[in-house]
Amino acid sequence: MKRLDLILNGKGGVGKSFFAVNFVQYLKDKDISHTAIDSDNENSTLKRFHPDTQFVDLADRRGPDGIFSALEKSNLVVMDCRAASTDVFIDFFAQINLPVVLSALGASLTLVMPVNHESDSVDQVQRLADEFRKKCNYVVVRNAAHSESFALYEGSEVRAQIKDKLGGKEIAMSQLQDWLVVALNEQNLTITAAAKHPTFSLLDRQRLQTWQHKFYAEIESAADLLLPAKP
């Protein structure tokens, strides 16, 4: 079965693009065929780190059609959705009757939703779960980049709803040392590239690999919701 992974949370700065860059790198490192799509016309971070990424213009009324054109050709489409695009997707999916289209393509949709300590990020998860209910799968990414406290999310109804009623999963994305984040961005290097790059010290390369191993283990714990089902 094909898979469409939308990395979506209307709140900006929750780690959508950071997750997307590293998830796409995971797919490349594991030789998993996929199509990556960026939809952020102002900060195309995914395309900056992975230049082979396609671009879909959400401001164009037929722009999101490109997601399903890609899904026709690929078993896995990963899309980094720009901030403040929740309404766009809700409207678009209502317009095309999402379950029918997914069924026609033999695909399923997974909403990958990073959350952090802020209420806005949790509110967005709640909104998406309320809207799509059982029409899709859910993976919540607990992004500890800014804070390791997820009190709001942990006490929310939507967390229980996703875990208990909607079959969703949670994965963790730990904090990467800030100087490494700066260095990766300065040189537009993914962690896999930086781990072999001479400008990074041995210890920093080790730190990067340690972080990446943990991240990849988290991805694999939710592989059944993130990757195409094996025939």
Partner: protein, 136 residues
Amino acid sequence: MPSFDPIVVRKAVTEFAPLRPERFQELSAAKDFISELRQKRASYRSVADLLTRHGLPISKTAVAAFCHAVLGEPPRASKHRPRKRPPTPDSTNGSSPVLATPPPIPPAAENTSENPQNRARGPRIAQIRMLKPSIP
């Protein structure tokens, strides 16, 4: 009680004098003097001082009122600027009043299949539904 006699009533009306003295009654006798002094650009205070010195004690405020009401002088615009006061919520001078507190923001739509035509394009305030604390 005497019976109503129009002739008697007419005489009583003719002889009626109000208990309260007529306005500017005393100054009316000095109307020509006041008018002449004002034509000579005498101030209300100067007019009042002159009349007071000559047996007609009067204040400059009364002179000014007499000049406006009887001589028809236009009142002068005050040189004092009115103090600016912050607008109050009930001000009705045509401009929008500044409210002390912003109007309440309507709660976010309770959801499911929101109609895009009806969806408000305004501020969205997070309203997380929290689990009820369990009772130990």
